[in-house]
């Protein structure tokens, strides 16, 4: 196949720009393998000398906590949030997308407004509420709200998707004697899988990256998530231990990258159909 020079030059421009965009990430990864002394003297992306010592030192942890425990903590929280969002947002989305009930339009409008609401307006009373419940320094403040579908954005995403599913399926299921709960569970949920997966991957990545929530609610290092662990590194080691910090930073990106590369299709679909801000 013949490629016109015009197209070829466009490919080159886009590719060059893309590599330019990726440079910081590549720099992070490459630096994490450089011996401490070379991180800021050797600017090339291909390290002149390669070492794993940054990873060994970083993984050993800080403040008496191994870095692996930050990872485990983050995973526990992220998975609890994913399960909560997928289940409770889909329940609400089924009602909005499929059922007919009084005040539906008003409730739907309320839900849309909560998407736009800056969460700082509620953060202080929420903090005080959790304090009264003795939930500070536990994972409840970070996970329970997801089990009550506070990420209304995902309800909206699923409603959009569920509305597009053919209604004939529900009707024939009704004739077969299915109730609404069975229709939700056996028919709509399996068909809405792309929307559920989109919700799951974005919930995972946003929870994984969540710094503000963890900063507010977690005090003990052994409960810290990965973002707090990184910050701990940054604060207490000063400029001397950039190697381990960069190594753990690079490592912290791995779960998101794995999910991204294995679910690309859903990312693009999810963003372009619903406008997830990313």
């Amino acid at each position: 196949m013949q490629i016109s020079p015009r197209k070829l030059s466009m490919h080159l421009v886009i590719l060059a720009l893309g590599l330019f965009m990726l440079y910081p990430i590549l720099w992070l990864i490459s630096s994490s393998f450089k011996p401490s002394g070379m991180i800021f003297t050797d600017t090339s992306l291909w390290p002149k000398a390669v070492t794993l010592s940054n990873y060994v030192q970083g993984w050993a942890g800080i403040a008496g906590t191994r870095f692996s425990s930050f990872f485990v903590n983050s995973f526990i929280i992220a998975l609890a949030c994913v399960a909560g969002n997928v289940l409770t947002c889909s329940l609400a989305a089924y009602a909005f997308g499929r059922l007919d009930f009084s005040l539906k339009k008003i409730w739907f409008a309320v839900m849309m407004v909560t998407i736009m609401l800056p969460h700082h307006v509620t953060i202080i009373p929420q903090y005080i509420l959790f304090k009264h419940l003795n939930w500070i320094n536990t994972y409840y403040p970070l996970t329970i709200p997801k089990w009550l579908s506070t990420d209304a954005f995902f309800i909206f995403l699923m409603v959009q998707f569920i509305r597009g599913l053919p209604r004939e399926l529900d009707e024939s299921a009704t004739i077969d004697g299915c109730g609404q709960i069975q229709i939700y569970w056996r028919i709509v949920l399996p068909l809405a899988m792309p929307a559920l997966i989109t919700t799951a991957i974005f919930t995972f990545i946003w929870t994984w990256d969540d710094f503000f929530g963890a900063l507010l609610y977690l005090n003990s290092a052994n409960l810290y998530t990965v973002p707090l662990g990184l910050r701990l590194f940054m604060d207490s080691t000063g400029d001397s231990a950039w190697g381990p910090l960069l190594a753990m930073s690079a490592l912290s990106l791995v779960p998101s990258m794995i999910i991204f590369f294995s679910c690309q299709k859903y990312f693009v679909e999810g963003i372009s159909t619903s406008g997830i801000k990313g």
Binding site: M10, L28, F40, I124, W147, T150, D209, L230, Q264
Partner: protein, 317 residues
């Protein structure tokens, strides 16, 4: 099992309890499905909003009960707190610079990509990766190091052009712009939304205008932009609301203090410091309400002006 169809047809006697019963039968399933959301709405949104509004009218240090002081917090903010004014300036500058820049770049790259190139999926991935990872502490750490005094950027500038560049993140006149750069770098999701919008534009329009002798640039301004305006509108609103709430990047890059010289004292960072550093919960709540109003005003301006610049295909609805 629902038997709504017949139930509705039965003429009721008009008694109140009968109506209630009918309402209950008609709605119970839906409201059951909505139960978790209702609980969340009440406990985590409506309740806190009302409480937060009340707190904003009090002095509240978390140790002693809130004390009502009327509009004092709001007054202090605008008349006696220069750091507050600084945070407002920083945030509005950040939004006004980063959002248009980000959207312009996203649109240009999307337009460049939407030319029937092969390997589009690969390029989309490449450009989306920074957005995907951008919210993480790791990226903020990296940014701080790249833009730092002995960072890669400055070494590059020195080696390639012999320029003695400033310490971007530590210089009050540049620190904010290193965070702007971080935000602009994450144009990926806006770009994907633009791409999806561009694909909706019928090719006939371009062909017809070509017959009329329109050049590419003219086509861009008279076909692409107007037809894309609903998507531009959407991206603008989303990015605006998000940008006003930026926190992590500012926190990490400024070392949690909004420095140097408050030049990166983002609104949310100052709110966090007031609330959870100095325990001035009333003041922080008042700040949150002003933020809500500011975002509301900006959004209202965009909505209000939209009829002049947003064109819907069906002639406006």
């Amino acid at each position: 099992m629902e038997r709504n169809g017949t139930a509705v047809l039965v003429r009721d006697s008009g008694s109140f309890s009968h109506t209630l019963k009918k309402l209950w039968r008609r709605n119970r399933v839906a409201y059951l499905f909505l139960l978790p959301w209702f609980a969340g709405l009440l406990v985590f949104t409506i309740g806190p909003m009302m409480t937060s509004f009340y707190y904003s009218l009090t002095r509240f240090d978390l140790m002693t009960p809130p004390r009502y002081i009327g509009l004092q917090n709001y007054l202090t903010m605008f008349t006696a707190d220069p750091r507050y004014i600084a945070s407002l300036k920083v945030t509005i500058t950040y939004v006004l610079v980063s959002v248009p820049l980000k959207l312009t770049i996203a649109l240009l790259i999307a337009a460049l990509m939407n030319r029937g190139l092969r390997g589009l999926a690969f390029y989309r991935t490449l450009y989306y990766l920074p957005t995907l990872l951008g919210g993480s502490v790791a990226i903020a750490v990296m940014w701080r190091k790249i833009f730092g005094n002995s960072g890669v950027l400055n070494q590059f500038l020195a080696d390639a052009f012999g320029i003695q560049a400033p310490n971007w993140v530590a210089d009050p006149s540049y620190a904010l712009y290193s965070i702007v750069a971080l935000s602009v770098w994450q144009f990926g999701s806006s770009m994907i939304i633009f791409l999806a919008g561009l694909k909706q534009i019928p090719q006939d329009y371009y062909e017809a205008s070509q017959v009329d002798g329109a050049r590419k640039l003219r086509q861009f301004f008279s076909i692409t932009l107007p037809l894309l305006s609903p998507v531009i509108f959407f991206n603008l609103v989303i990015q605006l609301i998000g940008s006003f709430q930026s926190f992590t990047q500012a926190f990490i890059i400024s070392g949690g203090q909004g420095g140097p010289m408050d030049s990166t004292l983002f609104y949310t960072l100052y709110l966090y410091m007031k609330g959870f550093g100095f325990y001035e919960m009333g003041y922080a709540s008042a700040m949150a309400w002003v933020l809500l109003v500011i975002i509301g005003v900006f959004t209202a301006i965009i909505f209000g002006t939209s009829k002049y610049w947003v064109h819907y295909g069906d002639g406006g609805k």
